[in-house]
Amino acid sequence: MIELQNVSCGYGGNPLFSQLSLELAPGSFHFLTGPSGAGKTTLLRLCYADLRAQSGQVLLFGRDAAMLDRDAVAMTRRRIGVVHQDCQFLDHLSIAENIALPLTVADRASEAAGNLPELLAWVGLQAQANQLPPELSGGERQRAALARAVIMSPDLIIADEPTGNVDWEMSQRLMTLLVELNRMGKTILIATHDLTMIRSMKAEISARVLRLKDGELQQAGSEL
């Protein structure tokens, strides 16, 4: 599904990592961990074509990301749901409109009428549907971001520190939703530095834990 082969990437001439390889198989569940500044977000951005590798090859659904034109990047992103720590909503639109935004930009807004109520119920936000994003709590915003990420029924869901701004109970609730999605066949990639949460989830799901440190990506082992 997603494959990074000997990829190098960095900013201002300083590579964050080089010769990095990663493969996300369909239906797999991955945690990406590592210290702040290790390049977790950069790695995620490569996976949803928000950034181009300086060298190496990034294959997104079998296509070389470097060869995608701007329209093709947009089409690829419709197959990938992204959840950011800061959610990234349009603050002038209601939560329901924000969740339906991927359908709107794909000229499929009419489908929202069927999907939205179910999705709002799934993330427990029926009562907040008409509220504006700034009026919601951190946990509610994260759940709304997750709903937006899945409304197009994407093949891959990428979450960057989704539990960074929420309490333990809410992070468990969010992770439960992600596990449900994985059981529905979705591929999940979560960047987090919350090892406690990873440990608690490992009991529920077969997840691969990757550790990005000093420019190298390693499979985490028993230390977790």
Partner: protein, 299 residues
């Protein structure tokens, strides 16, 4: 033809969902409407100037091309006037020839000497107004005949001062069109700048739209539609205001001076109606180019 029409209709009707994706930006909205209104107002005047200059040039060309003056010395006897009129009336291509009365000559000189001029005290030449028909007369032949039969007569076909006047009017018309072109270019530049400012102010919105899979053309469309409609509305206001101000200008009798006749006549009234449409097209092209360029830069 159906494609562009459908495109124009889609642009006007729009997609309410897509429009809501980009928040309204107050300052650029007001700026665009104001710029479009001001430019359309100026365009109305430039257009009126250009069309009036064209009309005046045509009128001068037509009237003066057919008119000439035969001048005889102040002391020429009536017999010479009769002879001159006889020569002119037998010359093919001359529709009418008549001697100006003292009252008419006095009227011609009154702007310089006042209405109480005693014409007989001045050596004013005797004048015969000559009007050619549509085919015109043989200028060289008439001059040769006058030289032979009435050598003291001088034929003035007004060509000496007619040509520069017509040239000046034609250049004034050209300048009018150049001004309209400059107004269009300035409006395009200002709207492009306003669009750029709006795009910069909405950088986060654009980032979110991209994140959820919006294509560049989808994002650009929201800005293009907004700026095109604002420009069209502003231009309509500017044109209406310009026409109203033109109506307040003191009118002439249609044959008077240039300044007294600035405005539109007949089918010329259709031209100002085209200004909002042209302004909207300029805004569409300028905003689309600016938006797509800006979106390319942002990645």
């Amino acid at each position: 033809m159906i494609g562009p029409l459908k495109g124009a209709l889609d642009l006007i009707v729009g997609d309410p969902q897509a429009d809501r994706a980009v928040p309204p930006t107050g300052i650029t909205a007001r700026l665009t409407v104001f710029v479009a209104g001001a430019m359309a107002f100026l365009a109305v005047f430039a257009l009126a100037l250009s069309l009036t200059a064209g009309r005046v040039a045509d009128r001068w060309a037509n009237e003066l091309a057919q008119a000439a003056t035969l001048r005889l010395p102040a002391d020429a006897p009536d017999a010479d006037i009769e002879l001159a009129l006889n020569i002119l009336s037998t010359t093919p291509g001359i529709a009418d020839a008549r001697a100006l009365t003292d009252a008419e000559q006095q009227a011609l000189l009154s702007p310089w000497f006042g209405p109480d001029l005693a014409l007989e005290t001045l050596p004013v030449p005797r004048l015969i107004e000559v009007i050619a028909d549509d085919d015109g007369y043989d200028d060289a032949g008439l001059r040769a005949r006058l030289t032979a039969e009435l050598p003291q007569a001088t034929l003035d076909d007004h060509g000496r001062w007619r040509a520069p006047l017509i040239e000046a009017a034609a250049r004034l018309r050209l300048i009018g069109w150049l001004v309209i072109g400059l107004i269009g270019a300035a409006m395009a530049a200002m709207i492009a700048l306003a669009a750029q400012a709006s795009l910069a102010a909405n950088a986060q919105v654009i980032r979110v739209l991209r994140l959820v899979g919006a294509r560049d053309i989808y994002i650009a469309r929201a800005f293009v539609r907004r700026f095109t409609l604002r420009t069209g509305v502003g231009a309509i206001g500017g044109v209406l205001f310009g026409i109203a101000v033109l109506q307040l200008l003191p009118g002439g009798d249609g044959t008077g001076g240039f300044l007294a006749n600035i405005g539109f006549e007949g089918a010329g009234w259709l031209w100002p109606l085209v200004i909002p449409l042209l302004a909207a097209i300029v805004a569409f092209v300028a905003t689309r180019a600016a938006a797509l360029a800006r979106l390319r830069e942002q990645t």
